[in-house]
Amino acid sequence: MSELNLESMSAKQLLAYYSEKAYQDANEAHKNGKLICWSASVAPSEFCDAMDICTVYPENHAAAIGARKGSPALLELAEKKGYSIDCCSYARVNFGYLELLKEEALTGVTPQALADAPADRLPLPDLVITCNNLCNTLLKWYENLAAELHIPCIVIDVPFNHTVPMPQYAKDYVKSQFQYAIEQLEQICGRPFDYDKFLEVQKQAQRSVAAWDRVAKMTSYKPSPMNGFDFFNYMALIVCARSKKDSEIVFNKLADELEEKLKKGEYAFGDNEKFRFTWEGIACWPYLGHTFKSLRSLGVLLTGSGYPGMWSLHYTPGNMDEMAEAYASIYTNVALPEKVDAIGKVIEGGKCDGIAYHINRSCKIMSFLTVETADMVKEKTKVPFVTFDGDQTDPSNFSPAQFDTRVQALAEMMEQEAAEKDKKAQ
């Protein structure tokens, strides 16, 4: 890998390189006896990184398997094990994968399904860390992993934010959770927590987040040089390499490329950017190509999404109050008016003409509030919306034809609104 000239590589090549490297590093670390942690996607990564524990992210891994059409075999394994189809499909893919890893570890033989899984290998963990800022499924999921493997489970419990700003007592509680996590890590590692490295890791995380924000800003230009579906591709690194230099390098490279395109007048859809829309919710990974192509055929460009923005976690390095607030205030952990406000800002930032809500069978937290959310966002922003049924990684819960009808109707509504605006302007 040292022979590679990273300077000359495109952002896309760098993304592939660093994504693969993250898994290679983890497998290498596992071979060398370093501790491996499986982490929930928006759990604070800074603590494990400070203790030189190699962290990998099952949600990220499940999404990659889903995008490469490999989830059905693993979902079936999890269902055989007794996990209901109503459980989150990220969790089911991961539990299916866990079964295969366990079988390999116990028998020394790699099961064919594991060899066939279209994703980089996850090493078995020595500990897991989770946080319920995203959903409560993550608690039971990671507790289950820990119970299955007889390993420690670190839980960062954060209270739901019924009010804003977050009250001091709530921040104090989250800080106490951080402190307890530090004590658990000291016990697991058998050495004191490295506060100096922790500060450096926090600084790196903030540089990576700043670079991610640079990328996110690119869809605010009209026409946009960036296709917002790329958020779904590049977000792998803000999830799994947030406190590493790798993500900063890739995001800055991408932002540089997009700025260059903007200067040259090269846009994502060329001259065919008819409308811009917000995708609210997680991507349908197994149908990423279909959903993109269906929208592109209508000239509808994705320029807003709240999901990738969840990892835009801002705090001043060294300030634990701010870090507690950043992790506890992501938009899935705040009351409805704040969630509506957050989506409204996404629509405004992306200069969106409409919004499509993914009613995701897997993700109750992002779906059950949708009816109310959609009405409130419509009231606030006046842009038309549609809802569609789907799933993040279970392909059986998505119907391409139904999706196409709904987004085509959205495009027609946006066209109608634009025609009315033109009429009024004349």
């Binding site: 038309p384 049924d389 196409d404 009808t405 709904r406 085509q408 109707a409 509504m413 009315e420």
Partner: protein
Amino acid sequence: MFTMGIDVGSASSKVVILKDGETIAAAEVVQIGTGSSGPKRALDQALSKTGLKMEDIAKTVATGYGRFAYEGADKQISEISCHAKGIYHLIPTTRTIIDIGGQDAKAIKLDAKGHVKQFYMNDKCAAGTGRFLDVMSRVLEISIEEMAEYSARAANPATVSSTCTVFAESEVISQLSKGIAKENIIAGVHQSVASKACALLYRAGVEEDIVMSGGVAKNQGVVDAISRELKKPVKVAPNPQTTGALGAALFAYEEAKRS
């Protein structure tokens, strides 16, 4: 000038030929849908009825589930916009549409100009659609056409509480085995479809005039059940299966005028 709208549904194919954007020259329905000979047969019937040839048609717009599979169209437009267009053309006082077809149900809210302001469709489930009625019709050994007549005679409507079509089928079989009159069971089946449709309507917002379209609108038992549930009158669009095709033909006329 003649324009054509073709609505290729999941369970039926509909063609409307329109003269000068106003007069319906032909409105044909064949009870088989996309992937079958239905679209071609409906098209041939419409052409034969009018004595026209394809080259006489200025523009064709396709809609419905199979709109992209039909190759002869100049443009594809969603069934939401086409139903709205067709029904508003027929009944300009329409503000709310409930359309129930073979595999989907949709509630559409219109503004005073007939523009779609909001719509909701059923989720990925056959409950509350024509398919639900098909299954019940088979179990009850009563044809779809007879169901309205049966429910009108119901003295004590049964309750079909299951949402899932398969569970509801079991429930209906169980009611039959208990000796409950078919009239009462069918009234319960209609009520079940109505409650699913009204859930969509309430989400979209109910404003009069409420107009029903789609194949299921031909079943007065369902129309009455929806009206009872909403406590408001529900009109049925003339020739309710062809309103989508009519809307498509109207869009085709606008396209033809532009080009």
